[in-house]
């Protein structure tokens, strides 16, 4: 069965690439990806597709993540870039070198995102979402500045959005902080799993708030029809699905 949008992640590289081919052949036009040069190369060869991205990339740095955590991994990654690459990202990064070395994550995050965008911009993604591990960490710590820094980035034509596992809390905080995200990527599914605070509340937001809501859904082939039927009826902008089996 065809999926409207494909979430690419969680599998081994070959499996991911095969899955992309198969989905494209079946008619999938929307792809949600992390920064992965092989996947970007593969998608660049397709016509009439739309791409969406999640940053910073987590999956390809999983070993560093295991050892250092997301923040630790980011710091290591930026430190490993060197002056030339920092210059490629932006001249302003150089002026912030002191803060980078002092490990101010509010300064590190935009650079980390721009590092990923160096590759991703080949696909001209429509929307770039901040990874939920970052968004939710900011929500837990009431860290307006971190979210604000991300949302004020300039990534060409890409609109900036937030990915979260805590949708109601995100909306509550955005309102409190006076911030506006162009798009929000959150779990939506037939069983209401991880739709916080509740399935009804999340569905109501889609109906009443004038925003672009995107879904990410993990499902099995057996439940795909059920999920598609549900997702197509609640008014989401795009639906991205990762089939687990």
């Amino acid at each position: 069965m065809n999926v409207p949008g494909l979430l690419i992640g969680g599998q081994e590289k070959k499996e991911k690439l095969d899955n992309i081919d198969l989905s494209y052949e079946k008619g999938t036009k929307d792809f949600l990806i992390y920064n992965d040069s092989d996947i970007i190369k593969k998608l660049s060869s397709f016509k009439n597709i739309e791409s969406y991205a999640i940053v910073p990339d987590v999956s390809s740095y999983v070993r560093d993540m295991t050892k250092h955590g997301m923040v630790g991994m980011g710091i290591r990654k930026i430190k490993s870039l060197g002056l030339f690459n920092l210059l490629r990202i932006s001249l302003s990064a150089i002026t912030k070198i002191r803060k980078i070395l002092k490990q101010d994550f509010k300064v590190l995050l935009p650079i980390l995102v721009k590092v990923d965008y160096l590759e991703l911009k080949k696909l001209k993604p429509n929307h770039v979402f901040l990874h939920y591990q970052m968004t939710d960490l900011a929500l837990a710590n009431d860290n307006k500045e971190l979210i604000s820094k991300f949302l004020s980035l300039n990534l060409g034509s890409a609109k900036l959005g937030l990915m979260t596992q805590n949708l109601s809390l995100l909306e509550e905080k955005l309102e409190k902080w006076g911030l506006n995200a162009a798009s929000i990527l959150a779990p939506f599914n037939y069983n209401g799993f991880a739709m916080r605070n509740s399935k009804e509340e999340c569905e109501k937001m889609v109906k009443t708030k004038n925003k672009n809501y995107f879904s990410f859904t993990f499902t099995s082939n057996a439940n795909l029809a059920n999920e598609l039927n549900y997702l197509q009826n609640i008014g989401l902008k795009r639906n991205f699905i990762l089939i687990k089996d």
């Binding site: 993540m65 295991t66 050892k67 955590g69 960490l137 929500l139 710590n141 069983n191 799993f193």
Partner: protein, 645 residues
């Protein structure tokens, strides 16, 4: 088996629907169009049916294909003008329901009535519920009636919550009359568990049961207990009963939903004889204590005045995660941060985690008073830190494994016992819903007698020689088995307890600690188990645990995302053949950070500091896991099977 729950969206109903769904039943929720359904939607196998107790045909439609009806719906209004409404919903509704059950051949009917039906002086509610009880008793159906006392619990909008809110907000506490009348309130989850437990229980047919809490307490004493729990010293002011009666009567004329009703008032002063023995005998009714229930309520209402003062020791990946969760929880405050490296201070501050930072653990502990610390440091350092915390009577959460050796783990257990500290250890799998479901299946004998298991834990982490504390025996205590295998060892301990004998083989291709480990386990009950753990396995970007349990009635495969149950004979709610229980069909926490289980685990520890509940995994459990780990290392070193003492 499909169950119809009337009044499903209410306080008792929403708790019941959640439990029924969790137990694998299909549920049809009978609710009015105007009902809020957010608390009952989103559960597996739960459908919403809009109807009205006053509408006979809607009940007829709702009872089609139903095996059991649990009847909760009632009108509780005490306004004089609502008398006819109460009669129509409670009495006529009962008649409609009985007719519908008879027409659709639904024999089993479980009714939640009320203690107020036993009182001499009754309001609308008590009177009409009493009449309804007679309708059910004469129905010819397999009825059971529960008469619970005042029901309370988290999420309640009832009298108990209103009393708590009044106590919190008013400068003095008003006591109605002498306050010597006794209460024995029922905790909502106890009622839900009782309802589910009698669905198939034939002993309970055509019987009426009293249900109440474990403890009986004078109203005045209850107020004092709450006052004490909230650390308030508010004065008690007695108000004559007649004055209260007039006041409540006046309020009921003014507002549709007064904070206290005439029935509440009559209920308070008229004690009823409650006999829990039949419920205990027929369906093992075992309610929680009132103190425990009150603590749950106060937590739910965020009423605790003091915030627990928390210190964070170790600010690496796990330290940041715990600090962020503590920062998010409403009843906690981070008061100090410690890490050996001062470099992390800036990035922790830039994450908006603000508290004085120390790189000297003694100065950290001396800096301020702390109720508890979260310790996320290499296992080689846990004992020395815990020893210092124990000297200052500081409770602690410590990341797993407990220590770098069994000797240090023993010291931690001893000092914790001696100081009577509240402890928790980071075996967060015990907070994953899929694991709790697996445990329920094993314990409820769905698989029959367990014969064997095969367990694996794989991750792609070490494919070449590595440097760092994690890969040194002196700091990490061990390799893949210690870091990742301990989660698996904990799960096996959680499911089956400790084995009698262990035989192991370890492999060291890249590090001075083991990269791969194999072990065979033999249990006193005869269970034989095999474990394989590796951090050098390609194709596993994240830690992947898998356990296959073989029983006399079939197998259960426990994955990270689902359970696959294959049984020969139908047992409980599970049919013979294959049943897949997906993670996304189960309950999920109200907040998530860092993956499933972490938030619930930390919240559980904080709750235990408020003495609300014991933690799921304490240092003794972690010591047993350490014992298992040590035997695996000993068996390999001694090249023989080790018997656990």
């Amino acid at each position: 088996m499909k169950i119809l729950v009337t009044g499903a969206s209410g306080f008792i109903g929403s708790n019941l629907v959640s439990l029924l769904s969790e137990k694998g039943y299909s549920v049809r929720c009978f609710v009015r169009k105007s009902s809020k359904i957010d608390l009952i939607s989103g559960y597996k196998n739960v459908e919403i049916f809009y109807g009205d107790m006053k509408n006979e045909s809607s009940l007829f439609e709702a009872t089609k294909d139903i095996a059991v009806v649990i009847h909760l719906a009632a009108s509780t209004s005490e306004k004089a003008s609502a008398k006819s409404e109460s009669h129509e919903v409670n009495v006529q509704g009962a008649k409609h329901l009985v007719k519908a059950c008879q027409k659709n051949k639904v024999n089993r009917l479980i009714v939640v009535s009320s203690q107020s039906t036993k009182r001499k002086r009754q309001g609308n509610y008590g009177l009409t519920k009493k009449l309804a009880d007679e309708v059910f008793k004469n129905s010819g159906l397999d009825w059971t009636i529960f008469k619970p006392s005042l029901v309370y619990g988290p999420g309640s909008k009832g009298l108990f919550t209103k009393i708590l809110k009044l106590i919190k907000s008013l400068p003095v506490i008003f006591i109605i009359g002498s306050g010597k009348y006794k209460l024995q309130p029922t905790y909502v989850n106890d009622l839900a568990v009782a309802l589910v437990s009698i669905i198939d229980n034939k002993k309970t047919i055509e019987k009426t049961y009293d249900l109440a809490g474990k403890d009986q307490v004078q109203f005045k004493e209850l107020i004092k207990q709450i006052n004490q729990e909230l650390q308030m010293e508010k004065k008690l002011v007695h108000v004559p009963f007649w004055l209260c009666y007039l006041g409540v009567k006046f309020l009921s004329l003014l507002t549709k939903n007064p904070p206290i009703t005439i029935d509440n008032l009559l209920g308070l002063i008229q004690e009823t004889e409650i006999d829990l023995n039949p419920a205990i005998t027929d369906f093992d009714y075992s309610p929680i204590s009132l103190q425990q229930g009150i603590k749950q309520m106060l937590w739910d209402l965020s009423f605790y005045p003091d915030k627990k003062r928390i210190g964070i020791i170790g600010l690496g990946k796990m330290g940041l995660l715990h600090a962020s969760i503590v920062n998010y929880l409403p009843n906690t405050q981070i008061v100090a941060l410690f890490d050996v490296s001062s470099k992390v201070k800036n990035y922790i501050y830039s994450m908006n985690i603000k508290a004085p930072f120390f790189n000297d653990v003694d100065k950290f502990l001396e800096s301020t008073e702390m109720d508890a610390v979260f310790i996320s440091v290499p296992p080689a350092f846990t004992w020395s830190i815990i020893e210092k915390c124990a000297k200052r009577n500081i409770n602690f959460f410590v990341e797993k494994p407990l220590a770098s050796s069994l000797e240090y783990a023993q010291k931690i257990v001893d000092v914790t016992d001696e100081k009577n500290l509240i402890t928790s250890v980071g075996y967060m799998y015990s907070y994953k819903e899929i694991i709790l479901k697996a445990k329920e299946i094993i314990d409820s004998n769905i698989l029959g007698k367990v014969i064997a298991f095969e367990a694996t834990a794989y991750i792609t982490q070490v494919l070449s020689p590595k440097k760092g504390w994690r890969y040194q025996k002196s700091t990490a205590g061990g390799g893949c088995m210690s870091l990742h295998g301990t989660h698996l060892l904990y799960l096996l301990y959680f499911f089956f307890g400790l084995p009698n004998k262990i035989l192991s083989r370890l492999f060291y291709p890249y590090s001075e600690v083991e990269d791969k480990a194999f072990a065979k386990l033999l249990y006193g009950s005869g269970i034989k188990g095999k474990i394989k753990v590796s951090w050098s396995e390609e194709g596993f970007p994240k830690l992947t645990n898998k356990i296959k349990i073989i029983g006399e009635n079939g197998t259960l495969i426990i994955n990270e995302e689902d359970l696959i149950l294959n049984i020969d004979t139908k047992k409980g709610p599970y049919n013979d053949g294959q049943t897949v229980i997906a993670r996304d069909e189960l309950h999920f926490a109200s907040f998530e950070l860092g993956g499933e289980g972490y938030f619930t685990q930390d919240q559980d520890f904080i709750k235990s500091l408020f003495k609300q509940n014991p933690v799921k995994v304490n240092v003794e459990d972690a010591y047993n896991v350490q014992k298992l780990l040590q035997c695996i290392y000993d068996s390999f070193e001694q090249k023989k099977e080790i018997t656990l003492k």
